[in-house]
């Protein structure tokens, strides 16, 4: 590997191909950079800023930034992790994240990333916003309380399913997820459980009905191993009980919450 196509990440030499972003090259090399709105299957959105690194001393989103030969990238530093934790805390207080009653708990990337960043409290004052629940669809429900506006469902529905079921609307603190139907209800769209959009939400918004707590809390993906040790966290977020039991080894102990 010639020097021209490597950079260093926290001192480790990372090879990269033309066109790869910093996070893609890091993932390929098995190095974890925290991220929420990035999913290797989709075009980057660059909105959550969890993946922020310092590239040659300047802060940048590693999911959109391409490396340069010999670039010095810092990621796992106290300074950057403190900022990541503050971003996570803001995401937690802006929504309603009551993990003990959330079906996604233990499979949730927001939660697992917060564990990784040692977020012990939300620090800021809770907004306790009033948000809706849409249970109109026979197979799926939407709990808007937990939306982090990562736009993955928007990208999946538009770019993969060709349906445009979801969109982000409003600006700033008023940004919110909308459903593309006159009624605003999921049941009145052509959304289906076979859609890619049904399986990309990193948090507990787009939930398959009647799955609930089939896999008990304590025996879920990120109970088994931290998100930093999970090469493709999206793949670790099961979509239903069948695929979940098929991929997870049996686990004898029930770790209490």
């Amino acid at each position: 590997m010639s020097q021209s196509n490597t950079f260093t990440l926290d001192g480790k030499t990372i090879p990269y191909n033309e066109g790869q972003t910093i996070i893609q090259a890091a993932m390929a090399a098995g190095v974890y950079i925290p991220h929420l709105c990035f999913n290797p299957e989709f075009k980057p959105h660059g909105s959550c800023k969890l993946c922020t690194v310092k590239a040659n001393g300047r802060q940048t989103a590693s999911c959109t930034q391409h490396p340069a030969p010999g670039m010095v990238v810092e990621s796992d530093t106290i300074e950057i992790n403190d900022e990541r934790r503050a971003l996570l805390q803001m995401l937690f207080v802006e929504g309603n994240h009551f993990c003990p009653s959330c079906e996604k708990s233990g499979n949730c990337q927001l939660q697992a990333t917060a564990y990784e960043m040692k977020m012990m409290s939300p620090h800021f004052d809770q907004f306790f916003p009033d948000r809706m629940l849409d249970a109109s669809h026979p197979e799926y429900l939407l709990d808007f309380n937990r939306c982090i506006l990562c736009s993955l469902c928007v990208r999946a529905s538009r770019d993969v399913d060709g349906k445009n079921v979801f969109a982000l609307s409003g600006r700033g603190i008023k940004s919110h997820l909308i459903v593309n139907a006159k009624s605003g209800r999921l049941a009145d769209t052509d959304f289906s459980g076979d859609d890619k959009a049904a399986h990309v939400c990193p948090v507990g918004v787009i939930l398959k009905k009647r799955v609930g707590f089939t896999i008990p809390i304590g025996q879920r993906s990120f109970d088994e191993q931290p998100i930093s040790a999970t090469p493709h966290p999206q793949g670790a977020c099961p979509v239903g009980p069948r695929s979940n039991t098929a991929t997870l080894p049996p686990h004898p102990t029930v770790k209490g919450g």
Binding site: S121, K255, G256
Partner: protein
Amino acid sequence: MNTPVKAKLKVATTSLAGCFGCHMSFLDIDERLLDLLQLVEFDRSPLTDIKHCGPCDIGIIEGGLCNAENVHVLREFRANCKILIALGACAINGGLPAQRNHLPLTTILEEVYHAQHGLVDGFIPNDPELPLPLDKVHPIHEVVKIDYFIPGCPPSSDAIWKVLTDLLAGKEPELGHGLIHYD
């Protein structure tokens, strides 16, 4: 030979708007309680039934703030404890009781005491002895400074044990994978 006797650290605990689940999890440290009692003695706590908190080294608060009395107790703890620990989801983010924050308080009181099916001539209690409910349930760090947080619903006894033993050893408490949980 006189070896100086090391003074035991004083620990106070209380449950505000919580379900006592965190205290149950604390008791779940089982026989390690005996080791702990070599090092600490309990002041105000549901375990001792002491009603007011004297000067303490560590105060442990379960539950958030749902009424005026919760706020008074929290302030008493903060005034008396060198280190204050928020124990569990409700203390840290309001938890289950805070799920009422999306309903107007009057609607809830009407529903519970007045309008609900089967209540005859129900009225909303207004005895001066009863603490007034707060408009919304709040986590405790929104009212006083909290030094350490042990998340979980409830936190596992191992997580509680880890934080307490780290503190008693004079270390910054740290919860690694498997011990840090929000659920």
